[in-house]
């Protein structure tokens, strides 16, 4: 059955081609139905592959087709099936199906409904292709394709200037990371003597045969790992390249749920996990990954405390959770990072879809215009609560298992600084997500105009919510002490990850209880401040006005970037423009003038007398014959 894995990405591709050919006038039901069914087939296939994949490392297979030859280097395309890839296939296709179904309700009546589905299908195809790539080059191609889909979908409502700007920003900022990834890829290609293949790279790394000019194996490994990580930083919105993700919330909410929560932004984490042997060979790179992850986790959580836009809060929580995953990878807990990716995909998609349901109902994203919606949107309310509890890491929701494992691993490895960083982030996380919960679903409405007519969407919107709520609640149980950490064992079957298992995590009840208590404290604080009507939040904001401003303005990072990077770019651009206008254009201008003057002079030879032309042709004939006779030696 695992031989069928190549079919998985092809179904969404078929959906994309179908929608491309059927055009804009495709009825909404047809576009959505075809997409959901085709992706559903992919999902079923992924599940079959996931469960069929045998336990031994060799059961993962690779199918390669020769693509092109560069010099002596052979580049293949194909499919690589490992346990990690199988898990990613399940996550991506499952979330995709639910989001595609949800979009049927959310995007109802949009002018470009079928185009939206077309882009989504293309994205699902690219994402599935990304996670089964057997080499870096193919991965990079799909990596750029998901970036392109993200650009198209963030800017889907391109007539809104903010959406167009956000699309541009997300594209440009991730490009910085992509450039790093590209350079890293080329370095690895040269270092291995001409191979993009993962296994070849890992072999070269473990045999210390990676070299390039004066750079030895260790130095090149670290450099390449850091550059690859830069790509992951851009895609997974890690500090300092996280600024694009909150702005990307301008896109339709299902897009945020699928691309900017569950799948594409997790591609960075996936990349690091896929390349894990490379990182393992370089302690400095691992430390960088861990610290970037930890700092991102706390920073984003702090910003999330004060945002007013419901989607932005969740976006910052996404950045924060991605930071957790990076942290886990950085401390060597490979399987835990992937585990958190797995659970996070469900509860974060759930939170976004629930937020989408709310936005659909009240048509605003401002938290302070909502309130008291719990009675009007019961399904949304309870599923959001499940997602929030999972995010806050409360037992027994899925987030508890994965997040707690990461913190425990950090503590047991002696990285106490990272542990406290993560714990602080966990506290903030619990606080801000329940701030959203209380502001939206409890209390009294703050804007009767908007909330009066609020009601649940149709079944296409509620069914995905319920399914995701169940998953968000239960997904953690795939990896508990009671079933012997089934997911970890599954992932450790990969040969690449076997080394990572060297640091097993021992559950520690005190640590578990402690982190749950911290989460509950965050929730309690949120209840105190926002659970009832009170002036306490405003007073606090006033008391700590500087801190509040810093958090609300996202640590002023956008401004810093604007006045440094963007301003510098503008100066360079202005210089280049001047160079182009005055130097290069000048040279061209002189050439053009010269030709023009020549033409003016020569035009008088065109007197329209055909016999005059004939005389000149005869002259030419004579010259040719004389040259032929004297110079070449004959006309024959």
């Amino acid at each position: 059955m695992t031989d069928w894995v190549w079919l998985v990405p092809l179904w969404p591709l078929a959906g994309y081609v179908f929608l491309l050919l059927s055009g804009r006038r495709t009825p909404e039901a047809v576009a959505a139905g075809v997409s959901v069914v085709l992706t559903g087939v992919s999902c079923v296939l992924s599940l079959v592959v996931f469960f069929q994949l045998g336990p031994e490392p060799a059961s993962g297979e690779t199918w390669l087709f020769h693509w092109l030859t560069i010099g002596s280097a052979r580049v293949d395309v194909g499919i690589s099936l490992t346990h990690l890839n199988a898990l990613m296939l399940v996550v991506v296709s499952l979330v995709s199906v639910l989001v595609l179904l949800f979009s049927r309700g959310y995007m109802r009546g949009d002018e470009r409904f079928s185009v939206f589905y077309q882009y989504l299908n293309l994205f699902v195809f690219s994402m599935l292709g990304l996670v089964i790539s057997p080499n870096l080059l193919q991965l990079y191609i799909f990596w750029e394709m998901v970036g392109l889909c993200s650009y198209l979908l963030v800017g889907f409502w391109y007539f809104k200037p903010e959406a167009a700007l956000a699309a541009k920003k997300s594209f440009i900022v991730t490009r910085i990371g992509d450039t790093g990834l590209f350079i890293g890829m080329v370095l690895l290609f040269l270092g291995t003597g001409g191979s993009f293949d993962f296994t070849a790279i890992f072999q070269a790394v473990s045999a210390h045969t990676l070299h390039l000019g004066w750079m030895g194996s260790q130095g090149l490994t670290t450099l390449a790992a850091l550059l690859v990580f830069l790509g992951a930083v851009g895609k997974s919105a890690q500090f300092p390249l996280h600024v694009w993700l909150p702005d990307a919330m301008e896109g339709p909410t299902p897009v945020s749920a699928l691309i900017h929560a569950a799948t594409m932004v997790a591609a960075g984490v996936y990349l690091v996990a896929r390349m894990f042997p490379l990182f393992q060979a370089s302690p400095p790179a691992l430390t960088t990954v861990a610290w970037i992850g930890g700092v991102t986790a706390l920073l984003a959580a702090l910003i999330g405390l004060t945002q007013r836009d419901i989607k932005r809060v969740i976006a910052y929580s996404t950045i924060s959770q991605l930071g957790y995953m990076m942290l886990a990878l950085g401390i060597g807990a490979y399987t835990l990072g992937v585990f958190h990716l797995f659970t996070h995909a469900f509860f974060k998609a759930l939170l976004f879809l629930a937020a989408g349901s709310v936005i659909h109902a009240v048509d605003t994203q401002d938290l302070f215009q909502m309130g008291g919606l719990g009675r009007k949107l019961p399904i949304t309310r309870w599923s959001f609560l499940a997602g929030a509890l999972a995010l806050a890491g409360i037992f027994p929701f899925s987030g508890f298992w994965s997040k707690d494992d990461i913190l425990t691993a950090a503590w047991q490895q002696g990285d106490t600084a990272l542990y406290w960083l993560g714990l602080a982030a966990a506290f903030c996380t619990a606080f801000y997500i329940f701030r959203v919960y209380f502001l939206v679903f409890t209390g009294q409405s703050r804007d009767e105009e908007r909330t009066r007519g609020a009601h649940e969407g149709s079944w296409v919107m509620t069914v995905p919510l319920v399914i995701l709520a169940v998953l968000a609640t239960l997904a953690g149980f795939v990896n508990t002490p009671w079933n012997g950490h089934a997911l970890e064992r599954y992932l450790e079957h990969d040969a690449t990850a076997s080394a990572a298992a060297a640091t097993p995590v021992h559950e520690s009840l005190p640590l578990m209880v402690f982190s749950v208590v911290v989460g509950l404290l965050g929730i309690g604080l949120a209840y105190l401040l926002y659970g009832r009507e009170s002036a306490a939040p405003a007073r606090l904001a006033e008391r700590f006005s500087i801190l509040h401003a810093v958090s609300f303005n996202k640590f002023y990072l956008d401004e810093v970037y604007y006045y440094t990077v963007v301003a510098a770019g503008k100066v360079v651009a202005r210089f280049v423009r001047a160079l182009d206008r005055y130097l290069i254009d000048g040279i061209i201008e002189v050439g053009a003038r010269l030709v023009g003057v020549l033409g003016l002079a020569l035009k008088y030879t065109q007197n329209g007398q055909v016999q005059a032309y004939g005389v000149i042709a005869a002259f030419g004939l004579v010259v040719v014959i004389v040259v032929a006779v004297l110079g070449v030696g004959g006309v024959l």
Partner: protein, 172 residues
């Protein structure tokens, strides 16, 4: 080199052709020019016959000396041409043309002189048949497609000439 009768005939014919051609260039009365060109055509036909190509020679007489010369005379009359060409003047164009033509002729003749030409052939190119029969076989065995294309060309030229020459309404 003994003076073979055919050789004498050739030189006489060549002299006639060249003098007719020169007079075509120098005569100023249009009708004389047409006559001179007819003489050149007939002279060429004589050369063909002398070279053992009687069919081409007869075709030359029929088409060139007959049809084309008559056609030209009609054209001259239809265009209401004055009787006399204007007198010749040495302009830059005329001088340059003359110089280049003389140069070209000199170069060609020099090439012809400097080349050793193959011996005069006695090969039977007609394969024992009469010349028209041999040409007919050649045409319909090897050049069938070309032959048909040429006939098509003639039809097109006929129609084209009619269309071009007929008076159009807007010209009147």
């Amino acid at each position: 080199m003994s003076l073979h009768p055919a050789l004498i005939a050739f030189f006489i014919i060549a002299l006639a052709i060249l003098s007719a051609a020169i007079s075509f260039l120098t005569l100023r009365k249009v009708i004389y020019m047409a006559l001179a060109i007819g003489a050149v055509f007939i002279g060429c036909a004589a050369v063909y016959i002398l070279l053992g190509a009687p069919f081409v020679g007869i075709a030359q007489v029929l088409i060139y000396a007959g049809a084309i010369t008559i056609l030209i005379m009609f054209a001259i009359m239809l265009t209401n041409h004055e009787e006399m060409e204007p007198p010749f003047r040495w302009t830059l164009q005329n001088g340059a043309s003359a110089a280049f033509c003389v140069l070209l002729a000199a170069a060609l003749l020099w090439i012809i002189r400097s080349q050793a030409w193959p011996a005069q052939g006695g090969t039977d190119i007609n394969h024992g048949r009469s010349n028209p029969a041999a040409i007919g076989l050649e045409l319909f065995q090897h050049y069938t497609v070309a032959f048909e294309l040429v006939s098509l060309l003639l039809v097109v030229a006929l129609v084209g000439a009619v269309v071009l020459a007929q008076a159009r309404k807007e010209d009147e």
